[in-house]
């Protein structure tokens, strides 16, 4: 620390006690031999004292009460979200007894792990339907990199909040020549690049929204096996995608949860699970109505759950993880290596949850239960 300029750069750090022992010694040596810098130091100290003694403003009236209300509401909502976030239980068998034998389609917003395509024509990259509320400049930024163009594209397509998923997908169909893509967990490159783009949006102050959609449809049919084929065909014709996870449930015997139901084992219930874009979901229900007759189809309420807060809280969490990991990496000690791995694993789990919400936000998830009369 030789020049006056160097010394003056360090005045704040000196006063704040942020210089190393060596730096401090050479700083003081200079100050003691340089009246100009000494004067500068004194003046700066006055400013620093002045600023650190500024009184705090009181909290506005009603601040605590207002916050309390908001927190209570969030706590109540997050309980609901936790319930909704998990796949719903298959309705109790008694429900089925009251319905003439048929097919029950349960649309759920659940934790879908993997999608396999029925039609191969879902036509959207996994990002296509995510809806963003955009600050003006973000789409320019997104367009900078070719890799991220599909995101920029869906950003442009998403002008409305609801039904944006469908809008994104349809636009993709036109714009990207039916480039089909199966969402797979192994699709890591794609995911990480889009995750990067997303975090850039977050840095720009973009709030991502998420709505998980659920509904319930009941269809009456005489022959379940034939009905499965019909439903599968209709789903395929409407760009539905079968989820791998539940495909294996086909023909599973229903056992109600408490096991004391008279119908136990008396019915074969076939379950299918599939996903649709929102628009396709509508045409699919129309097609089901036509095929089985409206009298044989019951369509339950279409429920949209706002997962925005949950999603953003999870995103916030990953940022915290990143920060913690970075901190540990700085120290570069062996014992930290394990901690870092552990944190990375935990972060991956959160990222998986985020992807699940995004995915569920993009699509309507359908579970099909078929009962034999």
């Amino acid at each position: 620390m030789k020049s006056c300029a160097d010394v003056r750069e360090n005045i704040s750090a000196y006063v704040d006690g942020e210089l190393s022992a060596d730096e401090k010694i050479s700083f003081e040596e200079h100050i003691n031999s340089c009246p100009d810098c000494k004067k500068e130091l004194d003046e700066m100290m006055q400013i620093i004292r002045l600023c650190s003694n500024m009184p705090l403003q009181q909290l506005p009236e009603g601040f605590r009460d207002e916050l309390h209300e908001k927190l209570t509401a969030v706590a109540a909502r997050s309980k609901n979200i936790e319930t909704i976030g998990k796949p719903r239980k298959i309705p109790h068998a008694k429900t089925f007894a009251s319905i003439a034998a048929g097919i029950l389609l349960v649309f759920i917003g659940g934790s879908i792990v993997r999608y396999g395509l029925l039609s191969g024509n879902l036509g959207a990259k996994n990002d296509a339907g995510n809806s963003y509320q955009l600050a003006e400049k973000s789409s320019e930024t997104a367009a900078d990199s070719g890799e991220d163009q599909h995101i920029a594209f869906s950003l442009n397509a998403d002008s409305t909040e609801d039904g944006s998923a469908a809008a994104g997908i349809q636009s993709m169909d036109n714009g990207e020549a039916n480039q089909s893509l199966t969402y797979k967990r192994s699709n890591d490159n794609n995911r990480s690049s889009s995750a990067k783009a997303r975090s850039e949006y977050n840095a720009l102050g973009v709030t991502e929204t998420a709505n998980c959609k659920s509904s319930e449809i009941t269809i009456m049919a005489d022959e379940p096996e034939t009905a499965v084929e019909t439903v599968t065909e209709l789903a395929s014709a409407n760009n539905g995608a079968m989820t791998d996870e539940l495909a294996g449930y086909s023909g599973v015997q229903d056992s109600s949860e408490d096991g004391n139901d008279a119908l136990d084992g008396d019915e074969t219930r076939i379950q299918l699970q599939m996903v649709f874009s929102q628009d396709d979901y509508k045409s699919f229900t129309n097609a089901v109505n036509d095929a089985f007759g409206a009298a044989n189809v019951q369509i339950g309420p279409f429920i949209t759950e706002d997962m925005t807060d949950k999603l953003n809280a999870l995103i916030e969490q990953t940022e915290i993880y990143d920060n913690d990991i970075k901190e540990l990496q700085k120290e570069n000690s062996e014992s930290n290596e394990k901690k870092i791995q552990k944190l990375k694993k935990e972060k991956e789990e959160i990222v998986r949850q985020i992807e699940t919400i995004r995915l569920n936000s993009d699509f309507v998830t359908v579970q099909v239960n078929i009962n034999e009369r």
């Binding site: 003056r8 942020e18 400013i47 003694n53």
Partner: protein, 198 residues
């Protein structure tokens, strides 16, 4: 973090609102004042401070306790405020140079407890107004850094974590901020009879 705080933290992580409120009691005023310094007006500061606490509440189950709770709290608060500023810049709607609101009631109480005369109180208030104005005229990254330092008592390393930048950057931001304040305030030297500043 003492034992009681640790216990509150565990409860808050499990979604206990009352425990969370007790945990953040000591931070409410500081978080509000941090927001006030960054955003520049009382109404927005109250909204943003509440938004910050809600985010903290939502994310608290994932808080790993590797950084201190205070660093974490101020990091989220800062992010909420800076996000809002970026959003506004993009929309180009609201001026960020609004004068910082001075709470008269607070000042009066302070004056009474200090047992100072009316003239001195007026000068003191004027001084505060001038300093607040000077601070709010700084670029946002500078006023954020010195606020975290002077008002929230964060170390440079903690500020670096909060702002996600190197500690060297924090050091130069803080020094530049203070030099700028010195230049602005020395023009009003008559106010700066340092006796008022303890």
């Amino acid at each position: 973090m003492d034992q009681n705080e640790q216990l509150l933290l565990e409860k808050a992580k499990a979604g206990d609102v009352a425990a969370f409120e007790e945990l953040i009691e000591a931070y409410q005023k500081k978080v509000y004042n941090l927001a006030l310094r960054i955003i520049g007006n009382a109404d927005d500061a109250a909204d943003l401070a509440q938004e910050a606490f809600i985010r903290i509440f939502k994310a608290i189950s994932g808080f790993k306790e590797q950084s201190s709770f205070s660093t974490w709290v101020y990091r989220i608060t800062t992010n909420v405020c800076l996000d809002e500023i970026r959003r506004r810049k993009n929309r180009k709607v609201i001026s960020l140079d609004e004068e910082i609101h001075v709470d008269d009631g607070d000042l009066k109480r302070q004056v009474v407890s200090d047992e100072t005369g009316p003239d001195e109180a007026a000068e003191r208030e004027e001084l505060r107004r001038v300093v607040n104005e000077a601070i709010s005229s700084l670029p946002v990254e500078q006023r954020t850094a010195i606020t975290l330092r002077d008002l929230n008592g964060m170390s440079y390393e903690q500020i670096a974590q909060i702002l996600n930048c190197p500690a060297g950057t924090v050091k130069s931001r803080i020094n530049r901020a203070r030099q700028a304040l010195k230049n602005v305030l020395s023009a009003k030297r008559e106010l700066l009879s340092w006796d008022y500043v303890k």
